[in-house]
């Protein structure tokens, strides 16, 4: 509003009088409606990534006799984690506690909505004086927790008991997802940083890996390394599918897999660009990087396969898309366009090797290559984020001082940031491996992990769920 055009003094006085009540709100900012709309949309997009996208992507890769079991594991697993998230997951992940776990403040989402006053609790974004409704953040993060747990299932399909899936997910979610999310992502928000003393206080309240200064825009460590390593551990503990290497086990519908991969790409815009928590430049950068790196990875996987394996396959293109999406996840808003090009072009051949050469070296029946795509792509993405964050390489840099307004942006140097990223990767790798191993063994020793041999041969659709996906 241009006050200069209001020449008569009386009008000016009147305007100031009108502004009076508005100025009273200056210390008490409210969430921006555009931001809120974007975050609600993003949340729904991330939900789409699990149901149906991940279900179809995984489901198409198994034999038709196990199709419904995969869809059920994803569908019910997603719902289970969503419920647990609202009961205790959010509270332990995203409230102040110690560097590993939060507190009980938000059990059952207590306090996010005051029914008497009709007011909503506000949470932080990455900009000062720009709050968001905490309840939106709860929902957005719920979809992350739930899809991360579902990603693990790809390693253990076609042989695991349904009850074992559920029990494992409860244990792993509680002791790996929650603390890793807290370690990587919990902090007090920019408004808490007002001076040097408050910076020290609030840094001490943040999660351990956040304190280290590791960059993870949308979940390279929290989601992909966390799930990918847990999946591999599961494949080891569970053992190989009957007949692996002797009988042919081709994917029963690469059409479903292509639809699933495409919907993952679509939903991933909510996942990555939504992780900016605002509808702003950072979200736009994350959006473009998510788009571009994925397209690069489709090409790089396809051409690598064409050159080294003989034919460019649909499964390869779909896998390349997912590998690109995984690798750009920690980088999304943390690198510039050059980073997106490099990440996409490198991760395709890298994950192709992860699903072929590396898989043979490891020797486990990681059935749908959760480790080869998610863990390997996640590790690569998490590390390279530290490099391409450099403004000299087109990256946006990182905030070095949140007490300033606007916060000071700088860059600590390639090696310095790479070491921080590597520490984060290492800790999450070990943490999830240990938790997954214990969790799978608890399930194995209590209710058992695998279905009986004859049920595995018959297929889990009939033997575990009493229905079949297709009638002949």
């Amino acid at each position: 509003m241009k006050i200069s055009i209001l020449k008569p003094l009386s009008l000016l006085v009147g305007l100031v009088a009108m502004l009076g009540p508005m100025l009273a709100f200056a210390d008490d900012p409210v969430p921006n409606k555009g931001d809120t709309a974007w975050m609600l949309t993003s949340t729904a997009l991330v939900l789409l990534m699990s149901v149906p996208a991940l279900g179809l992507f995984y489901g198409g890769l198994v034999r038709s006799k196990n199709m419904l079991s995969v869809l059920m594991q994803v569908f019910v697993g997603f719902s289970l984690i969503t419920v647990l998230w609202c009961v205790y997951g959010y509270s332990f992940a995203f409230t102040a506690g110690n560097p590993f776990f939060g507190s009980t403040d938000r059990l059952f989402l207590n306090g996010v909505f005051d029914a008497v006053k009709g007011t909503f609790a506000l949470g932080a974004t990455f900009s000062k004086a720009t709050p968001m409704y905490e309840i939106v953040f709860v929902a957005f993060q719920a979809t992350f927790a739930a899809i991360t747990c579902c990603l693990i299932l790809g390693s253990i399909v076609e042989r695991i008991k349904f009850s074992a899936v559920l029990l494992f997910l409860v244990i792993w979610f509680t002791f790996s997802y929650i603390p890793v999310a807290h370690m990587v992502w919990f902090w007090s928000g920019p408004d808490a940083y007002t001076d040097a003393a408050s910076a020290d206080t609030n840094n001490a309240l943040a999660g351990l890996i956040w304190q280290w200064g590791a960059l993870d825009f949308a979940g390279g460590t929290v989601v992909h390394i966390n799930a990918g390593v847990a999946g591999l551990v599961g494949a080891f503990v569970l053992g190989k599918r009957l007949g692996l290497g002797k009988e042919s086990m081709p994917p029963h519908s690469l059409v479903m897999t292509m639809i699933g991969a495409s919907l993952l790409w679509f939903g991933w815009f909510g996942f990555n660009a939504g992780s900016a928590l605002e509808a702003n430049g950072s979200a736009s950068l994350a959006f473009m990087n998510t788009y571009l790196a994925t397209a690069c990875a489709v090409l790089s996987w396809t051409f690598a396969e064409w050159i080294f394996k003989g034919k460019p396959s649909m499964l390869g293109a779909a896998s390349g898309a997912v590998a690109g999406l995984v690798a750009i996840t920690p980088a999304a808003g943390n690198v510039g366009i050059p980073g997106a090009f490099v990440i996409g072009l490198v991760v395709g051949p890298l994950c192709l090797w992860g699903c072929t050469g590396l898989k043979k070296l490891i020797g486990a029946d990681d059935s749908l290559d959760v480790f080869g795509v998610h863990a390997l792509g996640g590790i690569f993405g998490a590390l390279i984020t530290g490099v391409f964050n450099d403004p000299a390489l087109g990256g946006p840099g990182l905030v070095t001082d949140w007490t300033m307004n606007p916060p000071t942006v700088g860059y600590p140097g390639e090696m310095a940031q790479l070491i921080i990223q590597a520490k984060a990767v290492g800790l999450v790798f070990v943490w999830t491996a240990v938790v997954a191993f214990i969790a799978f063994y608890i399930v194995k020793l209590t209710i058992g992990l695998r279905v009986p041999e004859e049920q595995e041969r018959e297929g889990l659709d009939i033997s575990s769920h009493g229905e079949r996906a297709y009638t002949d």
């Binding site: 003989g310 192709l352 043979k360």
Partner: protein, 112 residues
């Protein structure tokens, strides 16, 4: 009476049906089958997993004919199903000892 069993390339079925009809064959039974002969299968590659598909999809046709029609029928199949390339299939001929038309109870050549 003779029973002719032929295994042919699936896309040749319509040609063979037409040729047999022109030769005077009154009926035909068709089955989709898989098998192998000198034509090799192919390999499929899914990420790291390579599967050799040994059995090639084929179509099996069966026709019962009077002895008088045998040579024309076999000739019709050979000319209609042939492409000159490996995997064209085979024709087998068996003696047929008995045949009955269920509706009328006719037997022998009359049932064909």
């Amino acid at each position: 009476m003779k029973l002719i069993t032929a295994v042919i390339k699936p896309f040749k079925l319509e040609d063979v049906r037409q040729a047999l009809a022109e030769a005077g064959v009154q009926g035909l039974t068709v089955t989709e089958v898989k098998g192998f002969g000198r034509q090799k299968g192919h390999t499929e590659l899914y990420r790291g997993a390579e599967y050799t598909v040994d059995f090639v999809p084929k179509t099996k046709i069966e026709a019962a004919v009077p002895d008088s029609l045998l040579d024309q029928a076999v000739e019709a199949i050979i000319s209609a199903a042939g492409t000159g390339s490996i995997g064209d299939g085979k024709v087998f001929v068996f003696d047929l000892v008995h045949a009955v038309r269920i509706r009328t109870g006719e037997t022998g050549d009359a049932a064909l």
